[in-house]
Subunit: 636 residues, 2 copies
């Protein structure tokens, strides 16, 4: 029998020699990702041998050489011959269907395969010769002499923090250490030194600072494996739900540093959890890669964002640089270096630049449109050589805000709505099949489309009382439609005419932005080869309905792809590859940003889009066929 230890959980299982790791894991109830069921063809069950003797079965799938060099192999093709320590990367631990960013992950893997893994941080094991009277170089020079053998011709520089630790650490470790270096371009910086030999790492923390949600991933930079992922609300919410109220708070005495402290504390709290779960130490985390919108980055960096909200809307920083984490108040990770992904403009942040990387916009190709829908609808249109971008203020309509019974995506949020044409009955699907609590963004879009297709609202979004819908009523001076009945009338979940107005304005702003980009690019909607939708929002969106209401352009649905949290994915690509760090800056600098604040063309497009699906029905040929003939005196 052998003892097989599975990392990062540390769970240890006794198993017969000669079994595959896939079999051993399955028998122990550890489910590894697979679609070939362990016969070596799908390549999804990759694991890393940290310690122990194994044998490899033949396989029709072959792992990239760079992964093989780092000890990766397929669990179903790896037979254990001794006690082993096995590391299961995040992507192998999760079943494919559980991945929020499945398509995005595929893009990322393809992108990394294209350029190879080449992070800024490098780890080296150094067994230093003992000092003697004949060889009494300084401690640092002793390290330098060995490290330069690995990277000939490179200039090596110590960081002050590490220098302070060097004398005792070298002597306590019998002169055998693992050194982490940061490639600054002109020199390799020694950023960390640990006792003995580390077979894994170095690690990076990938952070998406959303206005609402923080997401943090722990990744092994040398392999690209995700070791853990966690998310939580951005604690800055206490100081304002939206970015504007946070900017206002930041202007108060001490407000900016308070907001900075909150978000740094939250990131470190999440990092601590991930580091502990993986049995690592904070010293293993060399780099922190931060993506997010321009204001969130200013707040994390502690830089005054005031002028972002005042004409002519100028941010202080466009980022795209490295700094010591300690400067921003990181304590646990004080030795790390932080990279802020580059921003383009006040309302076009690093999250969008990251998104473009995740969507493969760094490669020249056909015309593609990238949309990230939130409070603002940011969109970029281009072919990899040129990029046009704009940002339309959609308000919080698609996040469930601005509607009487609107809600975020919480358990019980109505996410799908279907209205029966004959009976006018409303079928709803809620998140987690919980009792309905409100209507989230995707539910509102469904509802708008269903109300329109069933003639309950007209093209202007106004209720048509000629249809005598029994779910239509007047409440507090506004007309509303009952979506779901509660115990009594006051508990009903409804949509009001004002809610519909809000939605109409939001979808009109987004579509006007799309039209403006396409017209400025001198092409037409049919020329769009791909439409990528970023963000969690996209995941729940019914595309057909989104086209029906005129939110998305009328293009074949197979041209549309959801990419998930591309802000996070893009930051991960940057973490894994210096080429992508460079590409991020290139893309950011090549984007032509269209300022809509005073654009009369945008206003014209906006007004034209304030109809269902649009003033110009010829733009929505596929919708035209679905619009019902007006039905008089129906049962609704």
């Amino acid at each position: 029998m052998s003892r097989i230890k599975f990392m990062p959980s540390g769970r240890t299982i006794n198993a017969r020699k000669g079994k595959t790791i896939f079999q051993i894991a399955r028998e122990a109830g550890i489910h590894l990702n697979t679609s070939c069921n362990g016969v070596g063809t799908c390549g999804k069950c990759k694991i890393k041998i940290i310690e122990g003797k194994v044998d490899q079965l033949t396989s029709s799938y072959s792992l990239p050489q760079t992964l093989q060099d780092q000890g990766y192999s397929l669990a179903c093709r790896t037979v254990v011959l001794s006690d082993c320590t096995i590391f299961i990367p995040q992507e192998t631990r999760l079943l494919g269907s559980e991945l929020l960013e499945e398509r995005g992950e595929i893009h990322l893997t393809e992108a990394i395969d294209r350029v190879g893994i080449n992070p800024r941080f490098r780890r080296a094991y150094l067994a230093l010769p003992y000092p003697s009277l004949e060889d009494n170089l300084s401690d640092w020079q002793r390290i330098e002499r060995e490290a330069v053998k690995i990277w000939p011709g490179r200039q090596l520089v110590p960081t002050y923090r590490v220098l302070q630790e060097i004398p005792s650490l070298l002597r306590d470790s019998d002169w055998k250490v693992t050194a982490d270096f940061f490639d600054r371009g002109d020199a390799l910086l020694l950023t960390n030194l640990q006792k003995g030999k580390k077979t894994i790492g170095p690690f990076g923390l990938v952070v998406d600072v959303g206005t609402t949600t923080l997401v943090v991933e722990l990744i092994e930079l040398s392999s690209g494996s995700v070791w853990g992922k966690t998310s939580r609300y951005n604690p800055q919410i206490t100081y304002g739900e939206d970015v504007i109220s946070r900017v206002i708070y930041a202007r108060q005495e001490g407000g900016l540093s308070q907001l900075q402290r909150e978000v740094v504390k939250a990131i470190e709290h999440m990092a601590k959890k991930l580091i502990e779960e993986s049995n690592l130490s904070p010293d293993d985390v060399s780099g922190i890669y931060v993506s997010g919108n321009t204001i969130m980055l200013h707040l994390l960096a502690g830089i005054d964002p005031s002028f972002i909200r005042e004409e002519p809307y100028v941010p202080a920083a466009s980022f795209g640089w490295w700094e010591d984490a300690s400067k921003f108040g990181f304590h646990l990770l004080e030795k790390s270096l932080v990279y802020f992904l580059p921003c383009v403009a006040s309302v076009l942040g690093a999250d969008i630049v990251a998104g473009l990387l995740a969507a493969g916009f760094d490669e020249p190709g056909p015309l593609r449109l990238f949309i990230d829908i939130g409070t603002n609808g940011e969109m970029v249109f281009g072919n990899g050589d040129w990029f046009l971008a704009c940002s339309c203020s959609a308000g919080p309509a698609f996040e469930g805000g601005g509607a009487k019974h609107g809600t975020r995506v919480i358990p019980g949020a109505i996410e799908e709505v279907k209205i029966d044409r004959e009976t006018c009955d409303v079928e709803i699907v809620t998140v987690g099949d919980m009792p309905p609590q409100g209507i989230c963004g995707s539910g509102l879009i469904d509802l708008l489309a269903e109300l329109y297709l069933n003639g309950i609202i007209d093209r202007r979004g106004k209720f048509d009382f000629t249809c005598k819908a029994n779910r239509l009523r007047k409440s507090n001076g506004d007309y509303e439609f009952v979506v779901s009945e509660g115990e009594d009338k006051t508990k009903d979940i409804t949509i009001t005419e004002a809610d519909i107005d809000n939605l109409m304005r939001a979808k009109a702003a987004l579509f006007a932005g799309i039209r403006l980009l396409i017209q400025t690019g001198n092409v037409s909607i049919e020329d769009i080869d791909k439409l990528y939708i970023a963000g969690v929002f996209g995941r729940y969106l019914d595309l057909e309905k989104a086209i029906t209401i005129g939110l998305l352009p009328d293009i074949p649905i197979d041209k549309i792809e959801f990419l998930g949290n591309t802000s996070l994915l893009g930051a991960r690509i940057v973490a894994l590859s210096q080429d992508f760090e460079r590409k991020a800056k290139e893309i950011a600098s090549r984007i032509t940003y269209l300022e809509l604040a005073r654009s009369s063309r945008f206003m014209d497009e906006y007004v034209s889009a304030l109809f269902l699906p649009h003033t110009h029905l010829d733009l929505f040929a596929s919708v035209a066929g679905k619009i019902p003939k007006k039905k008089k005196g129906g049962s609704c």
Copy 2:
């Protein structure tokens, strides 16, 4: 009449138009350096026109073009035509005779002339276009866009601290700012931003951290002008006079950071004084250049120096790197960057590397010997291509330590001694002509030579009682010679046989080191083309006497040159020129350091040197002629 304002004092004088600045200054009692008395041939009265209209008279001396470009001209050739603001550099303010480092200054000027002024820091005035909706780049990109016009092709990076200030500073200054950049090699780092246009600067602080004395200079990096200089005792003295006791103190809980705080505080205190005297702000100081011995640098950097004193004598760091000043506890100068000059070994510090630069050792040439005499006698021998170095522990003998009436160079210290052959009377010269307080290093060397030349001590340094010197006596079991009589016997200043032993051991150690270097270099003493003596000690040294006692090798006196505080001068060269920063590292890496700790050859040489002047008299041919025939029963 015009109003002429002299900086940095700020003194303003009314003067008739058409007069030269030299005349105006002289009439107002401001003495400018000159040796041609204002006729335009010596080039010593250079000043800088900060503001105002002037005319230039023809001159037979022409200032280097780089200085002219910066507004420098000769005071005696500059005629005022309007109100003017004139800056008088330190070297023009001081008379040549007051310069402690006259020879060293000349070397420095030659060196800088050779490579040109090319500091790491560059200052640029940027008048930024106002942002608009059509041009709403981030604040940082607006700065970058203008700066890159000055330095095309360079990558520009902001530092975090400056970024935090950018938004309000740009708007408060009507978008007109002076920016300081640090050339990191791969990128230009924006390290400081100030409102409006600065016509002077950027500035650097050059610091020599001596075990006993701190010296700080304020220099304008763009011109090389010294704006001020100050010195004081190293406050670490409270924690131990010599380096060893400080290393011991540093090992105590909190000891290291206490020593670091003390020296940083003292440097900032001195910096504050210099900055205020020059009407500058701390923000004008971009770089701090630190030289000193290896232990002093460890203590300033807050790095444990313990292992320097334990076999095999290994320092933690060899320095030669830049770091943020804030990391070392600088507050006033928290935005500055610090450069620590490179060290070679535990007992061969940055002060010696700096010294070699100041002595022109970066240039290939004849065989030269560089000696810095203090508690340790550090010496380097080479021809610019190769360098041999060693460090001999001389003890504090030449600093007046280890002698019953020894003293540092203080007012009243006996610095010269002459014994009358016939009467045995002792003539003394004291520092500042004050009543004698003790004997300093140069006085002790004089005394030893005089005692020997007058037959009062023999070649082993023992008193010869056959000469019946009436100044010889026994006190507390030891024999002593009365140098200066006090009010009563207990106030006499004497030298004891034990003192002489100490001196003999010290000079023997130094000469043994010199011999070892010369033998290892496979040459003989006659091959030495130049002997440079660094340090304040050298200034008071009577060379003939130093040769007489066998401290210095017997070479023609015109081959010997005093250079003054070469640690400071070398640091200044590094501040003014990136080439010299590189050269410093090159020299440091090319030095072959001979470890004497267990060298039997050194021990042999040492024993041979324990005689006056040496066991082998043929090594001191010039001394042989002076040694008196033994005089029996003289009057001494």
